[in-house]
């Protein structure tokens, strides 16, 4: 491919039309990479007809190019960051592979983005953190927001991956895993995640607070998640206690996601008791 001639032809067409500013070409003979920037001025004097004419003249030149990538500066910045994170085998390699292979298709890209956000946070790059959070919220809504929060709190590694290992790898029950996974993602703002080092009183207080939050926002359930046989017992006991003491709790579903007594998800349905 004769890069030189293609570029010369393009330059002559463009200069004739005088439409492009910031038209810089950097060429790298070793990798045969040509980089240039296109900017058609919004308030430029060139008419639409002239633009169409120039476009038509340039088209055959692009047909000769077998590999091209057009991107906005935002796309370029995003791809650069994604590539940098993806190829660094020292960072989150197990988590990256888990997301690629086992997270539901609709959420893979959001989880991967959330890993990049978490990496930026750990490195103190707060501008990047905000930029990524804004893009996720704008394009993926509440579900995307929940996933970034779950990831930042390390629930991919501490809850979702162990859940997958237990339900899918050990028990072959992928549909159960997907069911619980969905609850985790959708219910995140109204969920309690129980760690081994929290006291019964702390867990109970958090559940009751979430019940009030659910009532305020018009949601209908609080999900309580825990791993480990001790947590399973604590959560079961607390759930029944809270149901007895609290008129806001219409029902408690304890056993639907229990597996071998080591993982539990308890759902408290919030609504007036009949």
């Amino acid at each position: 491919m004769d890069w030189g001639n293609i570029i010369k032809k393009m330059e002559s067409i463009v200069k004739t039309g005088n439409i492009l500013s910031g038209f810089k070409i950097n060429s790298d003979n070793k990798t045969q990479e040509i980089n240039f920037h296109v900017h058609v001025l919004e308030n430029g004097k060139v008419s639409e007809a002239e633009l169409a004419n120039i476009s038509q003249q340039l088209r055959p030149q692009f047909k000769q190019v077998s590999q091209f990538l057009f991107e906005t500066p935002k796309a370029q910045a995003n791809i650069t960051r994604i590539k940098e994170y993806s190829i660094d085998n020292d960072i989150d390699q197990y988590s990256k592979n888990f997301v690629r292979e086992n997270i539901p298709e609709r959420d893979k890209a959001t989880w991967f983005t959330s890993l990049i956000l978490r990496d930026a946070f750990r490195k103190g790059k707060m501008d990047e953190v905000q930029r990524i959070k804004d893009q996720v919220r704008d394009t993926q809504g509440e579900r995307g927001n929940n996933i970034t929060n779950l990831c930042s709190a390390n629930y991919l590694e501490t809850l979702i991956i162990p859940l997958y290992k237990l339900l899918v790898e050990d028990r072959g029950d992928k549909s159960k895993f997907l069911e619980i996974y969905e609850t985790i993602v959708v219910d995140f703002p109204f969920a309690v995640f129980v760690a081994s080092n929290t006291t019964l009183e702390e867990v109970k207080a958090e559940i009751i607070e979430k019940i009030h939050t659910v009532r305020m926002y018009g949601w209908y359930r609080v999900s309580v998640h825990g791993i480990g046989s001790e947590n399973v017992k604590r959560i079961q006991k607390l759930a029944l206690e809270i149901q007895n003491e609290n008129d806001d709790v219409a029902g408690v579903d304890i056993n639907s996601h229990q597996s071998s007594g080591t993982i539990v998800t308890v759902t408290l349905t919030v609504g007036a008791k009949e």
Partner: protein, 81 residues
């Protein structure tokens, strides 16, 4: 490889689309100039001029430029390069 960055304004985007025989309909969606049919982006959805941020060769792949779309795009089309 031709790496071309372009300004994120309507006129520049329309110019880029024109190079590949595309334009926009009255609702701002990208269409084939010949057939007036809306094209599908890399995520399988119709794509508007304002969302359009990336075009790659290989049957002309159009994509949005937000980071989540770019993760999918990178994994699918660039990671193996």
């Amino acid at each position: 490889m031709f790496n071309i960055t372009f300004e994120n304004n309507s006129r520049t985007k329309k110019f880029i689309l024109g190079l590949f025989g595309k334009e926009t309909d009255e609702n701002g969606y990208i269409i084939e100039s010949m057939t007036k049919k809306r094209i599908l982006g890399a995520d399988g959805q119709e794509i508007t001029l304002s969302d359009f941020g990336v075009l790659k060769n290989g049957s002309e792949i159009y994509a949005k430029d937000d980071i989540v779309s770019m993760v999918s795009f990178y994994e699918k089309f660039l990671a193996k390069n």
